[in-house]
């Protein structure tokens, strides 16, 4: 793409909208960016968890003596010796609270559950100590398959979302349809696998604790940890300047970190715990599997008469997080009747959690394949079919969209990809080397959540600013984009704005999740900056010595470190001059920001996109390569096109991963995941990604928030999975209804 900012994004005198490189770039390329496990306070001990190798039952013995006899081992924490917590770990803590496994008893509820913690002077001793525990079990039959688990009607899906949405009469719509398509789709359990394993370095000072840990929700986590440890929230400090990837798995409280913090308190020494890669397949969340059914009624004009999407979504035996997959169908295509619903199934696994585009990813995978099947059933081009069923207003509710440039996404994406002239039938295209070639597409959609957030903007005597919010940079580029937003509000160049972030002592920056961090923390910074400027204007316009004196009613404009009289550009004064004359060292602007509830009520708010995929398939051997992906996305105002493009790329690669690679393979006899590593749990490698293109479609959204920013972190997965699956069908004639696609599915 061109890194020239779309003209609607750049505002006069602002660097917002410009493709600045990352502020944390130098730190990250020199190895000086500090991640949690890089901390090493004096006297630090190493903790390693021992984990269960059965999925259900109880631990009957642990050879604590053997472990303690290993040189270097300091302590072993078991259910018998675990110090008490101030909060029952089986009681959920709202809003994102889960029941956690912290050695409350000897019960095993899933494979890889922590069953002991070994603390030692060295990492080597702690690791071997954990291996020497030699647990014995009383094992019960695990229930990890679709036929084994207990089914139930969930009170909620996702994070407190409605399990069901119904508009119109679906059965009547299906009854009057010219044809009805009924299809089943399966998506597997997937694990976040951020490159940085979950980690904590905990150091107590009396009843204060310092936690170095990757964290997507600082303020919320402080409150939760405080509750578990029976101390006031302000006694918990979390430092999380960088996360080595989160993808949803670092927004929730997990058991292993609690154990390490407990150990640090009990032993009165700092403790570091880093999960092994294998141990990340259990206690730290995952995307639960789904078994989805879609029923689509179609009239003779190729329009939907009804859309019914049901998902059976897996959760654990002891807590609820259900992939809200069916909800993906409620906001996208026009249909007079819509029904999305969920059923839960309890499996002996760790509790699932939000994983990049929770619900949208798996739901969109099924929906977009079903829509492609529907287009094929109608003999229509998949893009024409989607345009034919374009939702001008939110299906069901009829609310207007706050903005929706999806038509432009379709048009630009199709143009760039070269979609025109695509043969309708499958198996029509080959390249010069004989590989089957297929083109497929999918629509991308993701909501625009907005979290309450706070920020502080301090104008300093030298005319520069310090802006602060406890946000988290997990790769989305928060340090850079947030500084750009603040700089715009402050009328400064981003170089003049220092951003402090990533520590819980700063104003609550909200949650870095749901693709809502830039909008949420950004709005707070914008408002804090504006507050500081308002105070500065007040000083200047009331000061007879200022060239701006008396401009109060006319107003002033902040730009390039100066205030200008709105009606007379020749009258201006620098921030430093105003502050100096007022004898002020600084001016502090603050803000607590959230979305305007009236705007939220009146509008449906989503980012949209269209993804086009080309795959090549070896006709004999079945190996697939995604040779080209083009995505066009509209997500409101773009603060930094370079970083946004990277977010889209990342999401699209997750789409490749979902379609072709990721799957936790469970041996249902034992409930153990047999590929809990990065050699066999495949995620794409560099050679899997030969060509990506992301097109940033301009979109002006006056309702979503005052800065016009939607979210870009997750939408790239949605649409992409379907586009690839549909391209595979187009190449081979094989319909993908089970993810990931395997060689044997292709060669038949």
């Amino acid at each position: 793409m061109s890194l020239d900012a779309p003209s609607t994004n750049a505002r006069y005198g602002s660097n917002a909208g410009q493709p600045l490189t990352r502020r944390d770039g130098v730190l990250k390329v020199t190895g000086r960016a500090t991640y949690a496990a890089d901390n090493h306070p004096d006297g630090m001990l190493y903790a390693v968890t021992a984990v269960s190798r059965i999925a259900r039952g109880r631990v009957t013995s642990l050879d604590v003596e053997a472990t303690k006899a290993h040189p270097g081992v300091v302590e072993v924490m078991t259910p018998a010796s675990r110090p008490p917590l101030a909060h029952d770990p089986d009681e959920k803590m709202p809003p994102f609270g889960f029941r956690i496994e912290v050695l409350q008893d000897s019960t095993v509820r899933y494979a890889n559950q922590p069953i002991a913690l070994v603390i030692a002077e060295t990492l080597e001793a702690a690791t071997e100590g954990a291996a020497l525990l030699n647990p014995q079990y009383d094992a019960d039959e695990p229930r990890t398959g679709i036929d084994d688990g207990l089914r139930f009607d969930p009170p909620a899906v996702g994070v407190g979302g409605p399990p069901k949405a119904a508009f119109g009469d679906v059965e009547a719509g299906l009854a009057k349809a010219a044809q009805v398509l009924e299809r089943d789709y399966v998506t597997p359990a997937q694990y976040h696998n951020a490159m940085e394993p979950h980690a904590v370095v905990a150091e107590w000072d009396g009843d204060h604790v310092m936690l170095d840990m990757p964290n997507q929700a600082l303020a919320m986590s402080c409150a939760s940890y405080a509750t578990y440890f029976g101390i006031p929230p302000e006694n918990v400090t979390i430092r999380s300047p960088f996360l080595g990837g989160g993808f949803g798995s670092k927004a929730i409280i997990n058991g292993p970190q609690i154990l390490a913090i407990l150990a640090a308190r009990a032993l009165k020494r700092p403790v570091k715990l880093v999960l092994s890669r294998a141990q990340m397949y259990g206690p730290v969340g995952h995307r639960g599997g789904t078994w989805q059914k879609l029923r689509i009624g179609l009239n003779n004009d190729g329009q939907l008469t009804a859309l019914h999407h049901k998902s059976i979504s897996a959760t654990s035996s002891f807590d609820d997080f259900l992939e809200p997959a069916a909800n993906a169908s409620t906001h996208l295509y026009a249909s007079p009747a819509l029904l999305s619903e969920h059923e839960g199934i309890r499996l002996d696994t760790g509790t699932p959690g939000p994983m990049r585009a929770p619900g949208e990813a798996s739901g969109s995978a099924a929906l977009e394949v079903a829509i492609d099947e529907a287009a094929d059933a109608c003999g229509m081009d998949p893009l024409d079919f989607r345009l034919h069923n374009y939702a001008e207003t939110e299906p069901g509710s009829g609310r207007p969209f706050s903005s929706k440039a999806l038509r432009e996404c379709y048009a630009e994406g199709a143009k760039r990809f070269g979609w025109a002239g695509r043969p309708l039938a499958s198996r029509q295209m080959r390249d010069k080397n004989g590989f089957l070639v297929g083109w497929g597409m999918g629509t991308a959609l993701f909501p625009c959540p907005h979290f309450p957030a706070e920020a502080r903007a301090t104008l300093r005597a030298d005319g520069t600013a310090l802006v602060e919010t406890a946000g988290a940079d997990m790769g989305q580029g928060a340090w850079t984009a947030l500084a750009q937003i603040a700089a715009e509000a402050l009328g400064l160049d981003p170089e003049q704005v220092e951003l402090h972030s990533g520590i819980s002592t700063l104003p609550d920056g909200g949650i870095a999740g749901g693709s809502g961090h830039t909008a949420s923390a950004g709005l707070a910074l914008n408002n804090a900056g504006k507050d500081a400027i308002a105070q500065l204007s007040e000083l200047a316009t009331n000061d007879p010595a200022s060239p701006l004196f008396g401009a109060g009613n006319i107003g002033v404009e902040a730009r390039a470190g100066r205030l200008y009289r709105r009606d007379d550009e020749t009258r201006s004064e620098s921030y430093a001059e105003i502050l100096a004359r007022a004898g002020r060292r600084e001016i502090v602007g603050t803000a607590k920001a959230s979305r305007d509830p009236a705007a939220a009520e009146a509008h449906a708010m989503f980012s949209h996109g269209a993804v086009f995929a080309e795959v090549k398939v070896d006709p004999d051997l079945g190996q697939i390569r995604v040779t080209r992906l083009v995505g066009a996305f509209a997500a409101g105002r773009i603060i930094n096109p370079r970083l946004v493009e990277s977010q889209y790329f990342g999401g699209m690669i997750w789409g490749v991963s979902f379609a072709l690679h990721e799957e936790a393979i469970i041996d249902h006899r034992t409930g153990r995941i047999m590929n809990a590593d990065l050699a066999e749990y495949h995620v794409p490698i560099n050679a899997d990604i030969p060509s990506l293109e992301a097109i940033l479609i301009p979109e002006n959204d006056p309702f979503v928030n005052a800065i016009g920013v939607k979210g870009v972190g997750e939408i790239g997965i949605t649409g992409t999975v379907g586009a690839i699956a549909n391209a595979i069908w187009h190449a081979t004639g094989v319909r993908v209804r089970k993810f990931p696609v395997r060689l044997e599915d292709i060669i038949g």
């Binding site: 004989g434 090549k616 190996q623 047999m674 899997d688």
Partner: protein, 352 residues
């Protein structure tokens, strides 16, 4: 990882003497052994570091045109050796299709032969595995086994051998030089790895404390230089173990195959030399029909060990494709994606 003694011998005889102590293991680069120690599959009490032994890191060309490769030569050094790559292109291609650049820079030729299976049940110490704990059973047999063996397996073990390198080596009659307490000996690579039978724990023909010191490729293997390929089917484009693979080497004179070699990978506990297939090709013209017939011979005794019947068909097809590619000629330069179907220029369909 358990504690162990670390021994750094100065020469081969010191190494062999040290290894005679029970619980000893030779440590080369450690790319496989250290991994297995970390997951508790291997728990040696003594590690004998053989990386510094003199004389094991050389590629020596012999007067007859054969080559002798020291056991401590690194995979990448061999693969990128210009004369080696020119003379034994399928071997170089196989090496470059294995693991990652980093692992190839470290891993040794000898260590590659000693690679243990990637069977998840072998790696999971909570599972029964006759290979790891003789007599404990085989949990792979009725488990998650879609990638397991389809030839040469037994009820006691259905694991496969993961090496790419060993597949063309088997095809080209490589010889392994050993040195042990009883002195020096050599054995064909084809006999080095064992099928499981009733004793899957006996993975190789090595006697206790015996050390691989070198590998030889005979001069006559060079006759295939113009028509040799290694092809590997993976579930991602790179950095993945083979689902199935094939090494094919042909000598074609006046449009007729005079000699043919074919070996398959990832279908058995050893690289699978297909001698009947080779025999069927000798004297034949390099046609799709001949290759299809040969592939049929190669998989004649295949049967699924579980949920993996598709591997038989894939192995048959990759054998055909590898033969087609070999017949088309060794590429002038190493393909950008070594051994990948996507590196081929001609991708003719041979399955109707």
């Amino acid at each position: 990882m358990n504690r162990f003694d670390f021994i750094a011998p100065h020469n081969i005889s010191e190494a062999v003497a040290a290894a005679a102590e029970p619980g000893s293991a030779y440590l080369a680069a450690g790319t496989n052994l250290l991994d297995l120690m970390k997951i508790g599959v291997s728990r040696p009490v003594r590690l004998i570091d053989i990386t510094r032994l003199p004389g094991l890191d050389r590629i020596e060309w012999q007067p007859d045109g054969g080559v002798r490769i020291g056991a401590m030569v690194r995979n990448s050094d061999l693969a990128y050796d210009p004369r080696f790559a020119r003379t034994f292109p399928a071997v170089a291609e196989a090496l470059l299709s294995g693991a990652s650049a980093q692992l190839r820079n470290a891993a040794t030729i000898g260590g590659n032969l000693m690679q243990r299976t990637r069977c998840a049940y072998f790696q999971d110490t909570a599972s029964a595995c006759n290979r790891r704990v003789p007599g404990s059973g085989c949990d792979a047999l009725h488990g998650e086994n879609r990638l397991h063996a389809v030839v040469g397996w037994s009820e006691h073990c259905i694991a496969t051998h993961p090496s790419d390198f060993c597949v063309p080596l088997a095809a080209l009659d490589a010889v392994v030089e050993l040195e042990g307490p009883q002195g020096k000996r050599e054995i064909p690579l084809e006999d080095f790895h064992r099928l499981p039978g009733e004793t899957p724990e006996q993975e190789t023909a090595l006697a206790p404390a015996e050390l691989i010191v070198a590998l030889r490729l005979p001069a006559e293997a060079a006759r295939f230089a113009a028509n040799a390929r290694y092809l590997k089917l993976r579930e991602r484009t790179s950095y993945a173990f083979a689902v199935v693979s094939a090494a094919a080497a042909l000598e074609i004179n006046d449009g007729v195959i005079s000699h043919a070699r074919l070996a398959l990978g990832a279908i058995a506990a050893k690289p699978w030399r297909a001698r009947e297939a080779e025999a069927s090709l000798a004297g034949a013209e390099p046609t799709l029909e001949a290759f299809t017939r040969a592939a049929g011979f190669a998989l004649a005794d295949a049967r699924p060990s579980g949920d993996n019947a598709f591997k038989i068909e894939l192995a048959r097809r990759i054998a055909v494709r590898a033969l087609i590619l070999a017949a088309e000629g060794t590429p002038e330069v190493m393909p950008a994606l070594p051994a990948s179907p996507f590196s081929t220029t001609p991708g003719a369909s041979h399955v109707a």
